[in-house]
């Protein structure tokens, strides 16, 4: 057990080095996440007409926070899993005395190491363009927001892992993850702060994981009203749910694995 941190660190370092090779790809991937800024632009126009309670800099702050929250929550383990099942690479992973889930997790954490400096770069450009949007959110909100993104990453990762495991039955399950992705796109608060959604829709959405994945950390960071306790609690429960489901499917699914190409 004493060696656990060292093992984890070694794995992450390996994947960091591997991901560093793909820095160009990661950069463009990150750029393809800039859609929140277009929503910022449209809502700023709406604010200019005096249509919302939020000011232009409120929107700038909020959508920048949305951008960061989404970037930190990106996962692709469904893709890793599906690829490994279809190509038979999973066979080799099964021979290692380590659950493949840890390899995938290290892959994701290592990639964050490459993405973070790039995010800082985008942050600097944003700060130059919208200096009026920069407000210190306070240490507590900052920390709570980070906690929320960590939990959100957990939910995304476990959900994506569950979808990946379905590949053991369906061969290609990546399409299922798109449903999750589309739901996040429209129902997580990326289109607008949640309070601008119709109240009935807002109430329903709060019972799903989606607004807690993006709106919760973004609202904490940008100083909008949000029920942090409820959000964090909900994230914890969804983490538990998808984690358990993932473990269960992994036990059941291994027997289904046909080791293609081996």
């Amino acid at each position: 057990m004493r060696w656990l941190p060292q093992k984890a660190w070694a794995l992450i370092a390996v994947y960091f080095a591997y991901m560093l090779e793909y820095r160009g790809e990661i950069f463009f991937w990150m750029l393809s996440g800039i859609t929140p800024f277009f929503f910022m632009s449209a809502w700023t126009m709406a604010a200019g007409q005096g249509l919302t309670d939020y000011s232009a800099s409120d929107f700038a702050r909020y959508f920048f926070a949305v951008f960061i929250a989404r970037q930190l929550g990106i996962v692709w383990v469904h893709w890793n899993m599906s690829e490994d099942v279809r190509s038979g690479k999973l066979s080799f992973r099964l021979l290692q005395p380590l659950d493949p889930a840890w390899l995938y997790l290290a892959d994701h954490i290592g990639e964050r190491g490459v993405r973070l400096p790039l995010l800082v770069l985008v942050g600097l450009v944003f700060a130059l363009l919208y200096p009026q949007a920069l407000v210190w959110p306070g240490l507590e909100s900052l920390a709570l927001g980070l906690l929320a993104t960590a939990l959100a990453f957990g939910v995304n990762f476990s959900a994506s892992y569950v979808v990946g495991l379905l590949s053991l039955w369906l061969e290609d399950a990546t399409e299922i993850y798109n449903l999750w992705y589309v739901a996040i796109l429209f129902f997580s608060g990326m289109l607008a702060p949640l309070s601008l959604y119709p109240p009935a829709v807002e109430q329903i959405l709060l019972w799903t994981p989606f607004p807690h994945l993006v709106f919760l950390p973004a609202a904490l960071w940008s100083g909008l009203d949000v029920n942090a306790t409820r959000g964090l609690l909900s994230l914890l429960i969804w983490n538990l749910f998808f984690f358990t489901l993932g473990r269960l499917l992994w036990r059941l699914g291994r027997r289904h694995y046909s080791a293609m190409g081996a």
């Binding site: 160009g24 800024f37 126009m45 007409q49 449903l179 589309v182 429209f186």
Partner: protein, 259 residues
């Protein structure tokens, strides 16, 4: 004619190959429906807060949304699956085989694959366009203008995507640049008038998304004079020619890996 025949053969084989993954196809229907609902919700959100996207009536804005969805459907079914292969083939050196074939290499690289999962998206987008067109009271001439505008818009989107994808000859692992383009085209869901000045200029002059969704809708709705259609067609033909010239230029630098 020969190219039309090739196209049929390519797409038939692609469809047959994808039939292996029937669940994926069924799921695509669900996904297309969910995405359409989400996109409509996105437009509704602006209107329910009183913002008319810079002076558009609801049904007119839906026409823009419909055109953007049409582009999305083509990205999913044709542009992405094909252009992704440029980067793959440069990595593996298999681009050689394409260059040796007695077929225009740009045509081959752009049409060989057809992803059936895009079909539900295509149906939904056509439904949306027809609904929005009828609700906006388009007459026969306007419909004709809309169809011409949509064809020009698709050509333009293809040409820009091909231009981006061609850079993989130098940078190899660059396919994400096409995803970047996808996300920019995504912003064409709303008329450019909805955006502030910087973004409006960006979408008109840097990446010509304006000509892909807003402009064809404006021409069909009579918000712009009929002559503007020529501008849209001109821009798309110009960029199409540019993409083809750039492809031939890039091929001179293709060094063929592992052969």
């Amino acid at each position: 004619m020969r190219y039309l025949k090739l196209l049929t053969i390519f797409w038939q084989t692609s469809l047959a190959a994808r039939m292996e993954y029937r669940t994926a196809f069924l799921l695509a229907f669900l996904e297309a429906a969910l995405e359409a609902a989400g996109k409509l919700f996105g437009v509704y959100l602006f209107y329910s807060n009183g913002f008319d996207l810079g002076g558009w009536r609801w049904q007119e804005a839906l026409l823009v949304l419909g055109l953007a969805s049409l582009l999305d459907a083509f990205f999913i079914s044709v542009f992405n699956p094909n252009l992704r292969r440029i980067s793959e083939m440069v990595q593996n050196g298999t681009l050689d085989f394409v260059l040796l074939k007695p077929v225009d290499s740009q045509f081959w690289m752009s049409t060989q694959q057809f992803a059936a999962v895009g079909l539900p998206f295509l149906l939904v987008s056509l439904g949306l366009i027809v609904y929005a067109g009828v609700a906006s009271g388009l007459n026969a001439t306007s419909w004709l203008l809309l169809v011409l505008g949509a064809v020009a818009a698709l050509t333009l989107a293809y040409a820009v995507a091909f231009l981006f994808a061609t850079t993989s000859i130098w940078f190899v692992k660059i396919f994400n640049v096409v995803f970047f383009l996808n996300s920019i085209v995504w912003t064409g869901q709303y008329p450019v008038q909805a955006y502030s000045r910087f973004f409006k200029y960006f979408l008109t002059f840097v990446l010509p998304v304006y000509f892909m969704t807003t402009a064809p809708a404006e021409v069909a709705l009579g918000r712009l004079s009929f002559a503007w259609l020529f501008a849209v067609i001109g821009v798309s033909l110009g960029i199409l020619a540019l993409s083809s010239a750039f492809w031939r230029f890039a091929l001179r630098y293709y060094a063929s890996a592992s052969s």
